[in-house]
């Protein structure tokens, strides 16, 4: 029984890493929301303090849910859920974001 549990969890981890992408993969969706190129916006992780561009974060895209994680500590930085007429944005994992203005 215990063996089965172990097998299950390692499978889940493998499965998740095979679907892992970069923040680049969310560029279109974030552009829709913020109306600027967001992959070069920088974010500070609220958990470990890492600074980095959105493009450097880990992305897990399972429509309608989208998650960006910190590559240093794996903290969830942004969580997005897209419904037909609304977008939920949970950014409590980010200390702050620095977003480039449009020219």
């Amino acid at each position: 029984m215990d063996m089965n549990m172990i097998d299950m969890s390692s499978m889940l981890i493998e499965d998740a890493s095979s679907r892992m992408l970069d923040g680049n993969a969310m560029a279109g969706l974030l552009y829709e929301l913020f109306d600027v190129e967001m992959t070069i916006a920088s974010i500070e992780c609220a958990s470990c303090g890492r600074h980095g561009e959105v493009g450097s974060l880990w992305a897990f895209l399972e429509s309608p849910g989208y998650v960006l994680r910190c590559p240093s500590c794996q903290n969830i930085i942004l969580r997005l859920t897209v419904t037909p007429d609304q977008v939920y944005l949970d950014a409590r994992g980010a200390a702050y974001m620095r977003i480039p203005k449009r020219a």
Binding site: D22, N24, A25, G28, Y31, E53
Partner: protein
């Protein structure tokens, strides 16, 4: 100056869906095709950027994927998307099996500002690709050629077999032109008789051999499956390359790039 103006224009434009037309389809390998698309509101991209492609079924179900641009920004008015056919991929199977010259494709772009390179950023440039991860790096190499850039560049490209190498002839030509661009292949599943390239998965020793002449000032762009990207990025950090000089783009079943 001209480049600065173009960049501002690209940023200022809204990202809107538009209808492109297929003007050419080229079979690259048994599972990879390049689609040349005429884009009505074309704006110059940066090498490494992508377009989102959206398909709408008669019942209005929509599927959307991101595909890297393979062409250089100097190829004006159209873009080339090189797409691998994934058995389970609802968009790539449609593009491969149904789409022909004259068909229309809904898309928006160019998108992305992180995994990009332009000649003015300089180098030396280390490009590492696995499989169809070559596509955005090809845009960088084509842009480099088109602008006459002499930035020292090395490509390390991992494929399963010789027949799976995308853009094989063009890469051979670029390598032979002696413009400071060198191509290193590794074939991980099988090698033809007399193969002189690498014959294993990319490892630290291989990375060191390819990257060494560039020292620790190189700019690295890595694109491929997650395992390859992670391995190469970790390897470069072990070789003393600052993480800030290493840019990655992973692709997987959901992203399609």
């Amino acid at each position: 100056m001209a480049i600065e103006l173009i960049k501002e224009e690209a940023v200022a434009r809204l990202l809107e869906w538009q209808i492109s037309t297929v003007v050419k389809v080229r079979q690259e390998t048994s599972s990879v095709k390049t689609f040349t698309l005429a884009v009505p509101h074309w704006t110059p991209h940066q090498a490494g950027q992508h377009y989102d492609v959206r398909l709408t079924a008669p019942d209005s179900y929509q599927a959307q994927r991101s595909y890297s641009i393979g062409s250089s920004p100097e190829q004006r008015g159209e873009i080339e998307l090189t797409v691998e056919r994934l058995e389970e991929g609802e968009v790539s199977t449609y593009l491969h099996d149904i789409l022909i010259v004259g068909d229309q494709v809904e898309l928006r772009g160019p998108i992305g500002g992180y995994f990009v390179w332009e000649a003015s950023l300089g180098g030396p440039l280390l490009l590492v690709a696995g499989g169809s991860g070559i596509v955005p790096l090809m845009a960088m190499m084509r842009h480099r050629q088109a602008t006459g850039s002499k930035v020292p560049t090395r490509l390390l490209y991992s494929s399963h077999n010789l027949e799976d190498i995308i853009y094989r002839k063009e890469l051979e030509r670029l390598h032979k032109e002696h413009t400071g661009l060198e191509v290193f292949h590794t074939l991980t599943r099988g090698q033809p008789e007399g193969w002189r390239g690498y014959a294993r998965r990319i490892d630290l020793q291989m990375l060191e051999e390819v990257a060494k002449p560039f020292g620790d000032r190189l700019k690295a762009y890595i694109c491929g499956p997650t395992a390859l990207v992670e391995g190469v990025a970790d390897g470069l950090v072990k070789l003393g390359i600052p993480a800030s000089q290493v840019r990655t783009e992973r692709f997987g079943p959901t992203g399609g790039t």
